[in-house]
């Protein structure tokens, strides 16, 4: 059915009115128009465009609405592409799959296998800081050949109490230590770390 320009114009106006809920009160005309819409692809597309235009004007437009035909595009893509890159026939047959040999996993002592998994691979560089071995009690600096009257006073640790791990940061809430105090703390930390390391090395290198 070939429509004239004027007829098409009229159909569009009716469609627009339909969208706005302003249908003509002639029941017969309405029914016939609805029938026309469902059958006419041109009116389908028109209907779609009108809706997008209205959403855009009201600020409700979603970006995906603009890719007008997503469904068909995706369907096309799936049909053409090999999404897995492997032909489905390359899957190994179940019978050919090698099962892990449970017996070979069983070490004489399961616990040890477990422990070895848990082992931390530390480089020598950081190991001394991981352990607390030596009790450093009553550490005091002996003033050497220096005239410096300000002898570093270091905290002494009660007997039987292990010192905290090396390299700790100043406790929150403490007053901001001076540059000199920081330097002394670093010296003290260094010596403590090295004593830890000495004790550790003695144990690791027993003959």
């Amino acid at each position: 059915m070939q429509l004239t320009m004027q007829e098409e114009q009229k159909q569009n106006e009716t469609l627009s009115s339909l969208m706005d809920g302003e249908l003509i009160n002639d029941k017969f005309t309405d029914d016939r128009f609805l029938q026309t819409i469902t059958e006419d692809e041109r009116l389908h597309a028109c209907w779609h465009r009108y809706h997008i235009a209205r959403d855009a004007m009201q600020g409700n437009l979603h970006s995906c609405s603009l890719t007008l035909d997503i469904e068909s595009a995706v369907a096309q893509s799936i049909a053409n592409d090999n999404l897995y890159g492997v032909p489905a026939t390359d899957q190994p047959a179940i019978a050919n799959v090698e099962m892990p040999n449970l017996n070979s996993l069983k070490s004489p002592n399961l616990f040890w296998a477990h422990l070895k998994e848990m082992a931390i691979r530390t480089s020598q560089v950081g190991l001394a800081a991981c352990v607390t071995l030596a009790i450093i009690a009553g550490v005091q600096y002996h003033q050497g050949q220096s005239n410096d009257s300000h002898a570093p006073i270091l905290n002494t640790v009660p007997i039987g109490v292990n010192v905290a791990p090396v390299g700790g940061i100043a406790q929150p809430g403490e007053q901001q230590p001076s540059e000199q105090q920081l330097f002394e703390k670093r010296q003290y930390d260094k010596i403590r770390l090295l004593v830890q390391d000495y004790e550790l090395q003695k144990r690791l290198n027993t003959h």
Partner: protein
């Protein structure tokens, strides 16, 4: 006899070999006059005494007599050295039996340790020489595949435990992080000196039998382990007559002052081994700290002087405040020390901490800071530090 050896040894430190031998003979004659010497010989020795040069001068004139005067001293010299050798051999045998006993026997001991000017610490130590019969066979064939199990418990304060199992030593510490390391023995129980082949130490150390006494209600033999040079402290070890286990170990400085003591107060061979093994097998062990060896940059530095017998055992870096400290460990089997070289210099230049047998010495050299930590006298450690030189770039 023992007294003679001690005196002889003391003298050997003074270095004058000639004098030592002469006085040694005198002592021999003092102690064994009637059985081993005749009157004549004693006389000869007294006439010989004044000066060797004099003997040389008189040689052409009175040949007969002079030959005699030379012959007898030589004979007694031979005798004295034979005595010395047997005594040293006895001591070495006893010490080696001790080394073996500590590692292979089953025993439970309660002991105390004390550092100079510190409080006593109390321990219970249980040791099972072989957890399986096979490991005993291994040990007898001298394969170093130690399968011993051991348990050390701190009896005071937090119940700290150290467990040795399958060559791994685990530290359970209620007041800090627990961990495991690969180590074939619990160093906290007996000091390194116990675990040695004493024949190999004989070049560096003298072993002197001091006699018998009693400790922990047991009969023991005393042996002094003393370095031939004056670079090291010395040990006196009390060895059980029956089991050969060490029941007391004293670390003594060069002024004969006690620095550290380990003393067994109770000794038990009939403890519940099954219960202990069960306990060890069913513990959940803390994480094992394994080490990836890394090269260090201490190779730019060399120690031009080391006390005799010391060897480099390990070399590595330690991370500290975003910088590396280059470290090397040295040991002679009895004593050990680390040399640590870093960039940040300290003020004051020289610092010293001494705790029991441990000396910590810090000094600055060529814009670097050197810290040496070890169980050596300060003079030795200072000498090591003074002899560290930077290798010239080749």
């Amino acid at each position: 006899m023992n007294l003679f050896v001690i005196i002889n040894n003391r003298l050997s430190h003074k270095g004058a070999d000639k004098n030592r031998l002469i006085i040694g003979q005198r002592l021999i004659n003092l102690f064994f006059p009637p059985y081993f010497t005749n009157h004549n010989r004693l006389n000869h020795i007294t006439t010989y005494q004044p000066n060797q040069n004099k003997v040389a001068k008189t040689l052409p004139r009175k040949q007969g007599k002079t030959l005699l005067t030379l012959f007898f001293p030589l004979l007694s010299l031979l005798f004295s050295s034979v005595c010395l050798a047997t005594d040293t051999d006895d001591a070495i045998n006893l010490l080696n039996k001790m080394n073996n006993a500590v590692q292979t026997q089953n025993y439970q001991i309660n002991f105390i340790t004390q550092d100079k000017n510190q409080y006593v610490t109390t321990f219970e130590y249980s040791h099972i020489g072989a957890t399986t019969p096979e490991s005993l066979i291994h040990r007898n064939s001298n394969v170093k595949n130690n399968d011993a199990a051991a348990h050390l418990l701190y009896l005071e304060g937090p119940a700290k435990e150290i467990i040795l199992h399958h060559n791994i030593t685990s530290y359970f510490q209620p007041d800090s992080a627990s961990f495991s390391i690969t180590s074939p023995r619990i160093v906290e129980a007996f000091p390194d000196v116990i675990y040695n082949d004493f024949k190999q130490l004989a070049n560096t150390y003298d072993f002197i039998l001091l006699g018998k006494t009693r400790t922990a209600n047991r009969s023991v033999q005393l042996i002094r382990i003393i370095a031939k040079d004056k670079d090291r402290y010395n040990y006196v070890v009390w060895i059980d007559d029956e089991t050969y286990l060490p029941l007391r170990i004293d670390l003594i400085d060069l002024n004969n002052e006690l620095l550290q003591q380990m003393k067994v107060v109770e000794f038990n061979q009939n403890f519940d081994k099954k219960k202990l093994l069960n306990y060890i097998d069913n513990r959940t062990y803390p994480i094992l700290l394994a080490i990836e060896k890394k090269n260090n940059n201490l190779d730019e530095w060399q120690l031009t002087w080391l006390p005799t017998g010391f060897k480099e055992i390990a070399a590595y870096n330690i991370s500290f405040y975003n910088s590396d400290i280059a470290t090397k460990l040295f040991s002679d089997g009895v004593f050990s020390f680390t040399v640590n070289i870093s960039d940040e210099q300290t003020t004051p230049t020289n610092q010293l901490i001494q705790q029991g047998g441990r000396t910590i010495f810090s000094t600055n050299l060529n814009k670097k800071n050197i810290i040496i930590i070890g169980n050596l006298p300060l003079t030795t450690i200072e000498r090591i530090a003074q002899n560290i030189t930077e290798k010239s770039p080749s």
